[in-house]
Assembly symmetry: C2
Homo-oligomer: 262 residues x 2
DNA sequence: CGGCGGCTTGAGGTTGGTCAAGGCATGTGG
DNA sequence: CCACATGCCTTGACCAACCTCAAGCCGCCG
């Protein structure tokens, strides 16, 4: 439960228009809608203000007013909601190339909280500046629509997970989603990735208690479907896990504006 | 479980640029980003092709290729996924002003199914035409980003529902969400709305079995929090229901591009 | 009038939550 | 360098919640 501490704003190097294409978010946008030089220059200007947050710092607090986006360059965070009962539901694991503040800060008061799981480097973007960019650069705005569609698809899949899948199926699906998303940004090997959450945290993602996550993960290990070593998760039998969790990676795939043949 | 039947395409009146502002989707977009005459003309052209679907018809079938949006003018539908176990998870209840095909048809193959709950009238929009519009009209594209942010927020709230809330809380939250969304499009009175789903359908939304939905609804009725008469649901004690479901309507509120004061 | 879909209610069994205790690794301060 | 604290994993016992199955009922539509 993230300690409420103050955020640090630290100026870092200004990425030039040349290097901006390497930014994980820009890469994603560019894959949906081919961006031109002016788009890239405008994005580079948007991403001028680098910031750093430390482990367990709150980046967005539900109910507070903070109309700014934080674009993740490095590190992990969770987007979540705390209920009166004390339960926590993690809505998404935020990783490089994701946008913290989508959709929370499009509202007058944030509708979700976001806390850093480890040290992170971000780019701070006032929502107004983002809106101006969208209005000025239709290609960027359109790429953001596609970005948002993928975000919605991930959320929808998460609803299925929490609502109707069996505990082992939920875990299988969640682990494969993490692997696939991390591979897409070059942060995972063929079958192994870094799991930034504790078992209790995983439970807060998929809607199970900590002890039950432990039991179900133990079963998956015993059946040689996965292996774990600290925060390292290895998928040992991808086919079986996919069948178990009914995982189809399509919803995480690249989404070009048009189909290859059209 | 929607019967798989063929869709009918029926040409209806072409809305002129004058009446287009009355379209429920255009109203919503215009509230986020003020649209000009050219935007409206372009939208009117996009919404030329009216179609009608009948109760229980499939509009989108998971796994099929159908790169088109269907913009809802009238009627209800469900966006859902069927699992191998036979269970169904409804991801969203689609209502007038919503876009069927977001996000399903942004992918090569649809990632969710959509079935009409009753007769509907829609506007058929090829995805390519939609993409062209976004690229040509930055204000429309930007409004769509805001539209998508609200969609994502609704999904996120649904994850919390299915993952961590108690059964009665889930129902309270779901009923208030339906009331509020319907009020926003002028389809509900102060405290009463039309529930297009059966109790089993409600169970498939919130992740409970049909019988358990029945029992929990009976409790809410006994406690005078709600009343039901056929498909009519009346919220009798909104304050108590809001407290029970921890419902804050903020995530459904209007999202203007800029804050009033900025 | 007959059939079907949906609501209602009941009985029984399993799942998974809660609580609790112990172990292990890591990191910190004396 | 050791002692201790902390966080996380692991395991067990117990129990309530919720699912499943089943039967009866009502109202609507053909």
């Amino acid at each position: 439960m993230g300690a409420s501490s103050r955020r640090r704003l630290i100026a870092v190097e200004k990425p030039g228009a040349s290097s901006i294409r390497a930014h994980p978010l820009v890469t994603r946008l560019d894959h949906s809608v081919a961006l031109d030089e002016e788009d890239l220059t405008a994005l580079a200007r948007l991403l001028e203000r680098g910031t750093v947050v430390r482990k367990a710092e709150d980046i967005i607090v539900e109910g507070y007013k903070d109309r700014a986006l934080h674009i993740v360059e490095r590190g992990f965070a969770i987007r979540y909601k705390l209920l009166h009962s004390g339960k926590r539901q993690i809505v998404n694991v935020v990783m490089p190339g994701d946008i913290i503040g989508f959709p929370a800060c499009f509202y007058e008061h944030a509708v979700f909280s976001v806390t850093a799981l480890g040290d992170m480097s971000l780019h701070y973007v006032p929502l107004d500046a983002f809106a101006d960019l969208c209005l000025a650069r239709a290609r960027v705005a359109t790429a953001m629509v596609w970005f948002a569609a993928r975000e919605a698809a991930i959320y929808a899949e998460h609803i299925v997970d929490a609502g109707r899948r069996e505990p082992r199926e939920r875990l299988a699906h969640f682990l494969l989603e993490m692997l696939t998303r991390l591979q897409a940004i070059g942060d995972a090997s063929e079958d192994t990735f870094f799991m930034p959450l504790s078992q209790e945290g995983i439970g807060d993602v998929v809607g199970l208690s900590g002890p039950h996550v432990n039991r179900m993960l133990a079963e998956l290990k015993a059946e040689r479907l996965i292996a774990m070593n600290g925060h390292e998760v290895t998928i040992r039998d991808r086919a079986a896990l996919q069948a178990l969790g009914e995982f189809r990676s399509a919803y995480l795939a690249r989404m070009p504006l048009r189909q290859p043949g059209s």
